[in-house]
Symmetry: C2
DNA sequence: GGCAAACACGAGCGATCACTCGCGTTCCAC
DNA sequence: GTGGAACGCGAGTGATCGCTCGTGTTTGCC
């Protein structure tokens, strides 16, 4: 009996509940202590995932990090994957909140250097504050559900980047625009790893400025005229 | 994995020395069949590491992939880590061989676009042909020995990049030069992931060209004069 | 105070993993 | 041919992991 899903118990329902919630499989009432434990466990899971990755992290280690017993952990999460999913969803929500305002139309009207600041800074700040995010998302050992959500985020971010590129280089073919957006984001991810690896302080700030320089030099030529077939852009040899 | 982490140092297979010492723990004579089995096992290990990562890969799965029994696997490797180490060393050796000629002085005399071709192309070709290399090196779950060797390779490659930058921008301060080299390599790694993710064929070729465009636009401004304090380089904003 | 439910524990269960061992087979020097 | 070593096998071993369960404690409500 490994299945613990309280699906339905049609037999011998003692009393019809006055409150009608047809779609509530878990009417578990949480106390304030329980909510605190959940946050505590998720924080511990973030630490362990961050230093060991998902698969190498053991649930016992997470429980120990949170100073609770394994049984207590499994009172709040049905299995190990659910811990990662809940943590991933919370981080994703924070991420969308912190980053959602970066691509507003008013920011899109900014010149490229300022737009870069507006987009890159919150992204870097979030990843510095939540290193578990990249550890969960970038790791190839993440559970399927996390990978799906990360893909969804990735696709939406790429769409935003394509919008920006379309704004600055309206004459560019869609296929090339997609390629430039991919490359922009990929190089940003590479630079982000560098920024996170740098020690906090002036070194990290310098690295952030360097990353912006890279992106600016890559994208700036797109803003000058249509430039559909310049000598620098994707010369098809042969 | 375990928090105690005894971290013993497993002795690597000693290379055959011309000098005959009485204390030789492994005078194992290999037959041709054995050498074939080793290559077969390493190929199987490369496949399994590539699709599952190091920790998630089981030795039984490697043996199954090689169509041998677990006992046969352990006749040639003392433990799981030794498989990864041997595979990593062989890949590293191939890598240095394929890439060692990229930074020769004659190539360094080339103009930047051609130098980029000479350096980037073999690097990409090698990683396309050996996807297990990045799976072993880039994964955070690799055994300590692999990580060390990867770090060593990383350091030596960065030194080469710094040399190139010093050649094209002699007036740049050493600290900034190191930062530019780091950023160049980091963005290349990000772009490399993109290239490997692209399907083989014209799409991949276009992505390779795009990566070179990125690197060229980033590095080209360095070639024009000393440029120690241009408006684009590492502007500290507020 | 009394009670039910939520909370907390930690020993233990089944599964899986890295790895071993005893025994049979194939190769090669002599 | 023959003996010894390299090769090959696969069930088995100890350890660890994800997860459960019986039991005891705390909390909220009357």
């Amino acid at each position: 009996m490994s299945e613990d899903a309280p699906e339905d118990v049609p037999e011998a329902t003692p009393e019809a509940t006055s409150e009608v919630t047809s779609e509530e499989p878990k009417p578990r009432r949480r106390q304030a202590r329980g909510e605190r434990r959940i946050a505590q466990l998720l924080q511990a899971a973030a630490n362990v995932f961050c230093s060991n990755g998902y698969t190498a992290a053991s649930t016992n280690a997470i429980a120990r990090e949170a100073h609770v017993s394994p049984g207590t952990l499994y009172q709040y999460f049905p299995n190990k994957e659910a811990i990662a999913i809940e943590l991933g969803e919370r981080l994703l929500h924070q991420m969308r909140e912190a980053h959602g305002q970066a691509f507003t139309p008013e920011n899109l009207a900014l010149p490229l250097p300022e737009l870069l600041d507006a987009v890159v800074d919150p992204m870097i700040e979030f990843n510095c504050a939540n290193p578990a995010f990249l550890a969960l998302m970038h790791g190839s050992d993440a559970p399927g559900r996390i990978a799906e959500e990360h893909d969804a985020l990735h696709v939406s971010l790429l769409a935003r980047v394509r919008e920006v590129i379309a704004h600055f280089a309206p004459g560019m073919p869609a296929q090339e625009r997609a390629r430039v957006a991919d490359m922009t984001f990929a190089s940003f991810k590479g630079g982000l790893d560098l920024v996170l690896a740098a020690p906090e302080g002036p070194e990290r700030d310098a690295m952030i400025a360097e990353l912006k320089t890279l992106l600016l030099r890559y994208l700036a030529p797109l803003t000058e005229g249509p430039l559909t077939e310049g000598p620098l852009t994707t010369t098809r040899s042969h």
